[in-house]
C-alpha cells in the first residue's frame, strides 16, 4: 500500500508536467491542425529560462520569507518570455506556410525543434545542469503512507493552471474567438475575428504553460538538460492524442493517465523502467489505430 501510494504520487506529479506540455500540443493542433514538433523543446527552453531567473534573483540562497514571492516572479517572467518565443516561432516558421501542403509546416516544425535544441546545446552544453528545488520540503502523513508537500503543490499548480485555461477558453471573448477559429477559420474571419492574433495568442498560452511545466520539471527532478524536451514532448503528445487531440480537458486527463502508467510500469515490473517508454509509445500507436479520436476527442474530417 505504501509503495502503491508512493508510485501514484510519482505518477500524478510526473503526469502534471506531461499534462502542462500536452495542453500546448492540443491547443495548437485544435486551432491550426499542426503538430507543433518544437513544443517539447519550447518546454525545455522554459525550464532553462526559469533557471536563469532563479540565478538572477539568487533565489537558491534567499531567505525563506522571500522564496514564495521569488518563485511567483520566476514563473511569471519565464512564462511571459517563453510565450513570446512561441509567438515568434509561429510568426517566422509556421505562418508563412499556413496554406502550404501539410507536410511543409510539419517539416519546419521538426527544423525549429532542432534549432532550439541546437541553441540550448551550444549555450548550456551537453551535460545535465543542476536545478534548485524551491518547493517546500516535508510531507503529510496519511497513516498508510506519506505524501510530499512539494508533490501536492506541483499537482495543485498544474490543476489550477488547467482550470484557469479552460475558464479562459470557455468564458472570455478571446477564448470564444479561439474556439471559433478552430471550428472554421474562414467563417471566423468573416465574423470579424482577427485570425492571426488569435493564433498568436494560442501559441503564447501554450508556450507559457510549457514554461510552467519546465520549471516544475526542474524543481521535481532537480536537473535539466538540453534534450529532455524530445522525450517529454513525445510522451506529452501521446497524452494529448490519448485524451483526444484538440480537447483541453482530454489532454489534462491524458497527461495524468500516462504519468500514472509510466509510474506503475516502472514500479511494478522487474526492469520496467527501461520498458516504460516502449509501453507509452505503443499506447500512442494503439490509440491512433483503434480510437484515433482519443478518449474525449471529436472526429476530424479528412480535408
Amino acid at each position: 500500500m505504501r509503495f502503491f501510494v508512493q508510485q501514484l504520487t510519482f505518477g500524478l506529479t510526473n503526469g502534471a508536467i506531461f499534462a502542462l506540455i500536452a495542453l500546448g500540443y492540443t491547443m495548437v493542433y485544435g486551432i491550426i491542425e499542426l503538430i507543433n514538433f518544437a513544443h517539447g523543446d519550447i518546454f525545455t527552453v522554459g525550464g532553462f529560462l526559469g533557471l536563469t531567473v532563479i540565478g538572477l534573483l539568487r533565489l537558491d540562497h534567499a531567505p525563506p520569507a522571500l522564496i514564495l514571492p521569488g518563485v511567483i516572479v520566476v514563473f511569471a517572467v519565464a512564462m511571459v518570455v517563453n510565450g513570446l518565443l512561441g509567438v515568434a516561432i509561429e510568426r517566422v516558421a509556421y505562418r508563412p506556410l499556413r496554406n502550404a501542403p501539410r507536410l511543409a509546416p510539419l517539416i519546419t516544425a521538426v527544423g525549429m525543434s532542432f534549432v532550439l535544441e541546437g541553441i540550448l546545446f551550444l549555450v548550456k552544453g551537453p551535460n545535465q545542469v543542476s536545478y534548485p528545488n524551491l518547493m517546500p520540503s516535508g510531507s503529510i502523513n496519511l497513516g498508510v503512507a506519506s505524501i510530499g508537500i512539494g508533490n501536492l503543490l506541483i499537482i495543485a499548480i498544474a490543476i489550477a493552471l488547467m482550470v484557469a485555461l479552460s475558464q479562459f477558453i470557455g468564458r472570455t471573448r478571446i477564448g470564444r474567438a479561439m474556439r471559433a477559429t478552430a471550428q472554421d477559420r474562414d467563417a471566423a474571419r468573416l465574423m470579424g475575428i482577427n485570425i492571426n492574433r488569435t493564433i498568436a495568442i494560442t501559441f503564447f498560452i501554450g508556450s507559457a504553460l510549457a514554461a510552467a511545466g519546465g520549471i516544475i520539471y526542474g524543481f521535481y527532478f532537480q536537473t535539466i538538460a538540453f534534450d529532455v524536451g524530445f522525450r517529454s514532448g513525445l510522451i506529452a503528445f501521446t497524452a494529448a492524442v490519448f485524451g483526444g487531440i484538440g480537447n483541453v480537458v482530454g489532454a489534462s486527463i491524458g497527461g495524468f493517465v500516462i504519468g500514472i502508467i509510466i509510474a506503475f510500469v516502472s514500479g511494478y515490473f522487474q526492469g520496467g523502467g527501461q520498458w516504460s517508454d516502449v509501453v507509452v509509445f505503443s499506447i500512442l500507436i494503439l490509440t491512433l489505430v483503434f480510437r484515433p479520436t482519443g478518449l474525449l476527442g471529436m472526429r476530424v474530417p479528412e480535408k
Binding site: 491542425e33 499542426l34 503538430i35 517566422v92 516558421a93 505562418r95 508563412p96 506556410l97 499556413r98 496554406n99 502550404a100 501542403p101 501539410r102 507536410l103 511543409a104 509546416p105 510539419l106 517539416i107 519546419t108 521538426v110 527544423g111 525549429m112 525543434s113 532542432f114 534549432v115 532550439l116 535544441e117 541546437g118 541553441i119 546545446f121 551550444l122 551537453p126 474571419r189 482577427n194 485570425i195 492571426n196 492574433r197 524530445f230 513525445l234 503528445f237 501521446t238 492524442v241 526492469g271 527501461q274 520498458w275 517508454d277 516502449v278 509509445f281 505503443s282 500512442l284 500507436i285 491512433l288 489505430v289 484515433p292 476530424v300 479528412e302
Partner: protein, 390 residues
C-alpha cells in the same frame, strides 16, 4: 528502345548526341543528350578507387553510399507519396539487427551475406507493412507521429532485449561478405573498403534504375496523385491505402537493405546508432535539402549532408582555431569559436530543414511537379494572410 542499336552504327561518332544515344540505365526517361554527364560520372566513380591510392577516401565514399541509399528510399515515401516518415531509422535498425543476429557469433549462426541481404530487406518491408497497414488510413500528420513512436520503440527494444541483441553493447563481430576468388583477389571483404565501395556502387546503380522506372510506372504516378490530392486520387479509382502501403513498404525495404550493408561493413551493431537524431532526421534533411521527389537532388543532398557531418564539422573548428591563433587576437582565441562550430550539428540541421521549407521548399534541385505544388500553395494565400485581415 529498338532504334538505339541501329542508330549507334549509322550516326556520326563524336558528337554529344551520338554519345547520348547510349541508354544509360536509370536515366532512360531523361533526354538523351543530358545522359552524357551521368555516363561520365558513372565511369569516374568506377575508376576513382583505382586512381586514388588513399584507401580512406574509398572508405568515406563507401560509407556515403549507404546514406545515399537511405535517402533514395525515404524519397519514395516522403518525396513521391508525400507521407512523412519520422521513424525511418527503425527499419534501418531492423535490417541491421536481422543480419547481425543471423550472421555472427551471437548464436553461432553464420548465414551468407548474399542470402541475408534480400532476407533482411524482406523483413524490414514486412515490418513496414505491419506498421503501415493499420495506420496509413489515418490523416497524414498522424502517420508522422506513429512512425516517430515506432522509431523510438525499435531501438529501445533492441537495447533492452539483451539475451538476443546483446543489449547496450550490441553485437560485435558481424560476418562479412565473401565471394569466390577472382582475378587474384581471394574474395574476402574483410576490412578492405574497396569491395564494399563497388558493392554499394552496384546497389546504387540498380536502385536508381529501379526507382526511376517505378516513378514513371502506373504505381509511381498513383503515388504522386495521392500526394497532390488524396481525395481526388481516390475518386479516380486509385486504392489509396494499398498504394501508400506499397510506398511505405518499399521505403522500409531500402532502409533494411542499407542496414544490412551497414552492419556488415561496420562489423558492429549497437542500439545507439539508430536514434532519431542519428538517422531519421539526418536522412530527412538529406531529402528535403536536395529536393523532395527529385532523385538527382536527393543524391546531391545526401552527399552534401554527409560531407558536412563527417568532414566540415570536424575540420572547420581546426581551421577556425588555426586562423584565430594566427591572428593572435586574445579576445577571439578566448571565445573558442571552433568549439561552437563543432557542436552546432543540431543547429545546422534545424536551420536547413526550416530554412529550406520557408525559402526554397523545392530544395537544391527542384522536382518540377513538386515545385509548382509547393509554390502555388505558399504564395497566393500567404500574401493575403500577411497583409489583409488585420
Amino acid at each position: 528502345m529498338k532504334r538505339v542499336g541501329s542508330a549507334d552504327r549509322s550516326n556520326r561518332p563524336g558528337t554529344i548526341s551520338r554519345l547520348g544515344a547510349f541508354q544509360f540505365p536509370g536515366f532512360g526517361a531523361v533526354g538523351r543528350a543530358r545522359n552524357f554527364p551521368y555516363l561520365l560520372l558513372g565511369i569516374a566513380l568506377i575508376i576513382f578507387p583505382l586512381v586514388d591510392s588513399d584507401s580512406s577516401h574509398v572508405n568515406v565514399a563507401a560509407d556515403a553510399g549507404h546514406w545515399i541509399l537511405l535517402a533514395l528510399g525515404l524519397n519514395i515515401v516522403v518525396g513521391y507519396a508525400g507521407l512523412l516518415d519520422l521513424g525511418y531509422a527503425a527499419f534501418f535498425a531492423i535490417g541491421s539487427y536481422a543480419f547481425a543476429i543471423l550472421a555472427s557469433g551471437q548464436f553461432n549462426i553464420h548465414i551468407s551475406f548474399w542470402v541475408l541481404l534480400p532476407a533482411s530487406t524482406l523483413v524490414a518491408a514486412l515490418f513496414g507493412v505491419f506498421l503501415g497497414a493499420p495506420t496509413l488510413r489515418l490523416r497524414g500528420d498522424y502517420l508522422a507521429i506513429v512512425t516517430l513512436g515506432f522509431g523510438e520503440i525499435v531501438p529501445r527494444v533492441f537495447r533492452n532485449a539483451t539475451p538476443i541483441t546483446g543489449g547496450v553493447n550490441g553485437i560485435v563481430g558481424v560476418d562479412q561478405p565473401h565471394l569466390p576468388p577472382i582475378l587474384g583477389w581471394n574474395g574476402n571483404f574483410g576490412f578492405n573498403p574497396l569491395p564494399y565501395y563497388y558493392l554499394i556502387l552496384a546497389i546504387l546503380g540498380l536502385s536508381i534504375f529501379l526507382i526511376n522506372n517505378l516513378r514513371n510506372s502506373r504505381l509511381g504516378r498513383a503515388w504522386m496523385a495521392i500526394r497532390e490530392d488524396e481525395v481526388a486520387a481516390a475518386a479516380t479509382g486509385i486504392n489509396t491505402v494499398t498504394t501508400k502501403l506499397l510506398a511505405f513498404a518499399l521505403g522500409a525495404s531500402f532502409s533494411g537493405f542499407a542496414g544490412t550493408y551497414y552492419a556488415s561493413k561496420l562489423f558492429v551493431v549497437v542500439p545507439e546508432s539508430f536514434s532519431f537524431q542519428a538517422v531519421s532526421v539526418v536522412v530527412l534533411v538529406m531529402v528535403v535539402l536536395g529536393g523532395m521527389g527529385n532523385m538527382r537532388g536527393v543524391i546531391l543532398g545526401a552527399v552534401v549532408i554527409y560531407f558536412i557531418q563527417t568532414y566540415l564539422l570536424i575540420q572547420l573548428p581546426n581551421w577556425i582555431d588555426g586562423a584565430t591563433s594566427a591572428l593572435n587576437i586574445d579576445f577571439l582565441t578566448k571565445l573558442g569559436i571552433g568549439g561552437y562550430v563543432q557542436r552546432s550539428n543540431y543547429l545546422i540541421f534545424g536551420i536547413i530543414l526550416a530554412g529550406i521549407m520557408l525559402l526554397r521548399p523545392q530544395g537544391l534541385i527542384p522536382s518540377a511537379q513538386r515545385k509548382v505544388e509547393l509554390e502555388h500553395g505558399t504564395t497566393d494565400e500567404a500574401v493575403s494572410d500577411l497583409r489583409g485581415t488585420a
